[in-house]
């Protein structure tokens, strides 16, 4: 164990992390140079872009739109498909300086089974699977899987039967009953829950009098959604026994502290990386300073503190 106090090391959903900050899916390139050295400082793990059975070109038209303190995206799961990922990308990015979490986007159960069987064959190169039942930017599957408790159970059970390593499930804020979705995921074998993916939003091009995005709707992320994500973490963490990973708008050390206090065991950070790639390294220093000042020796001690102090 690292004797340095306070320690940022934590064990979450079957993984040992040197820091509670994880790069969120869809924000870190698969280009190999990003998976070692300087840039990974401060990160506990990195999630890959969503992986699907077949190659996807992603959505047409405008894919990004800035909003006050937020970002709407409509990428549409552009990726090279699981086989090209395994042969062309994975060997270059796995076993670098940081654990790799493969984000698997659920389209339909037969494709999911194929993707997981293929990933299981290179299990030693993947530290965990993050099951994405929450992508808002595709027509088939995606968010629909995580929207209701029954389909969540089916997807998680399917994944669990094919993947024996750490299995994280990434929920959508648009679940009709997120507590039931969360407990179903837990019962079907999830090792941790990521709360949450982006919020459905929309933008209109008022000059041209049309929706900005070809698919009309898009996913909202960034500091604008932080209080919404925090509330979901609070709600979910209080009703499951597996770890919750807070995701949505985290951009500062105090956001991480708030997520931990609300019941998260670690956080994912996406959009904030676009603003400053050195942010994880900078934040870990501030986080340690906070822990020293408030007499916390470990991340674990901070998890759920707000729930023991009543009021909340």
């Amino acid at each position: 164990m690292n004797s340095e106090r306070p320690s940022l090391q934590c064990r979450v959903g079957g993984l040992n992390l040197r820091s509670p900050i994880i790069a969120a899916s869809g924000t870190w390139p698969h280009d190999p140079s990003f998976w070692r050295g300087e840039l990974t400082a401060g990160l506990g793990a990195i999630c890959t872009k969503g992986i699907t059975r077949n190659r996807r070109e992603g959505n047409r038209g405008i894919r990004l739109w800035e909003t006050p303190c937020g970002l709407l995206n409509s990428i549409g799961l552009q990726n090279s498909g699981v086989e090209a990922f395994i042969s062309g990308e994975l060997p270059e990015i796995s076993s670098r300086d940081v654990p790799l979490i493969a984000n698997v986007a659920v389209e339909d159960l037969p494709s999911l089974a194929e993707v997981l069987a293929l990933l299981a064959s290179v299990k030693d190169q993947i530290d965990a699977i993050e099951l994405n039942i929450s992508c808002p930017n595709v027509d088939e599957g995606g968010i629909a899987w995580g929207s209701n408790p029954e389909s969540t159970a089916k997807a998680v059970a399917c994944a669990r039967s094919l993947w024996s390593g750490p299995l994280w499930v990434k929920l959508t804020p648009h679940a009709c009953d997120i507590v039931k979705v969360a407990t179903n995921a837990q019962e079907c074998g999830a090792d941790a829950l990521v709360v949450a993916n982006t919020w459905l939003g929309m933008a209109v091009d008022v000059e041209n009098e049309i929706p900005v995005f070809d698919r009309v709707v898009a996913g909202l992320s960034g500091p604008a959604v932080f209080p919404l994500a925090l509330r979901l973490v609070w709600e979910v963490a209080s009703c499951v026994s597996i770890p919750v990973i807070g995701c949505g708008g985290v951009a500062e050390a105090r956001d991480i502290v708030a997520m931990l206090f609300a019941g998260a065991s670690a956080v994912e950070m996406g959009t904030a990386l676009f603003l400053d790639l050195n942010l994880p390294a900078k934040i870990t220093l501030i986080l340690k300073e906070y822990m020293r000042r408030h007499d916390y020796a470990s991340i674990e001690e901070m998890v759920g503190v707000a729930s023991h102090t009543g009021g909340m």
Partner: protein
């Protein structure tokens, strides 16, 4: 290739600012690491604050590198909205940040080159012209502008670029016509490096179909480093990221009809 990270996030101090009329300005920032590594055609993501404290506007603004020497990075700015307005009003000494140098840039010239810039699109071409100074005498520089409000900017470019051909949409400066009209009139078989609005680039590619053209493209960007897949353009080899696979593309590769 691309085995090591070839860019960084670096603090940048605004050291000189020259307003050039009509919402245009030339800005110089002290950013030694980026300046040292910069090559023509590359760009920076520009953040007007030294720390990401305020989150509105949230994202960096992509800006072509118009010059890089002696630890300084230069940009040419055209105010287009809120973000560029904030950059325009920065005081001398302002502490900002840049991510860069980003993207692939133009590959070194092998032959005669004609540089064709539409409006603020001349920015990366100025750097190319200055950087490849030795061969610059064989680089003709064609610049298209809207009207005479761009006069100070034209003079500023003229101080750095010999053999400058200026055309304006209303004929108030130089000959009347667009950058594409100018390029067609002057073209004599050389390779073309170009930057400007997509409509201009598309029309250039169509009107001089046999030319070898390297075109620098613009897309909305969030990260600038290839992570978000927000800036892709359709190409013969599938969607490619402007920020990392470009911004300079071989025009033959780009699917101009779908752009």
């Amino acid at each position: 290739m691309q085995s090591e990270i070839e860019f960084c996030d670096e603090g940048a101090i605004l050291s000189a600012k020259e307003p050039l009329g009509d919402g245009l300005a030339h800005l110089t920032f002290q950013a030694p690491r980026i300046a040292k590594a910069a090559r023509p055609g590359q760009f920076v993501m520009f953040y007007p604050l030294s720390e990401a404290r305020s989150h509105d506007p949230l994202l960096g603004r992509p800006m072509a590198i118009a010059g890089a020497s002696g630890g300084a990075v230069e940009i040419c700015l055209s105010v287009a909205g809120r973000g560029t307005e904030i950059i325009y009003s920065l005081p001398i000494g302002a502490r900002c940040r840049m991510r860069g140098p980003l993207g692939s840039g133009f590959s070194a010239p092998r032959d005669k080159i004609m540089l064709v810039g539409g409006g603020i699109g001349v920015a990366p071409l100025i750097f190319a012209h200055v950087f490849y100074g030795a061969s610059a005498s064989s680089m003709r520089f064609v610049m298209g502008i809207p009207h005479k409000g761009w006069g100070s900017f034209v003079n500023w470019v003229g101080r750095r670029v010999q053999a400058l051909h200026v055309w304006s949409d209303d004929g108030s400066i130089g000959e009347k016509g667009s950058a594409v009209d100018a390029a067609c009139a002057l073209y004599s078989g050389e390779e073309i490096w170009t930057c400007g609005p997509v409509t201009m680039l598309r029309s250039l590619v169509r009107r001089i179909p046999d030319a070898r053209i390297s075109a620098s493209l613009e897309r909305r960007m969030a990260c600038g480093y290839g992570g978000c897949h927000g800036c892709v353009v359709p190409t013969a080899n599938g969607p490619k990221r402007v920020c990392r696979d470009g911004p300079v593309f071989n025009a033959e590769e780009v699917r101009w009809d779908e752009l």
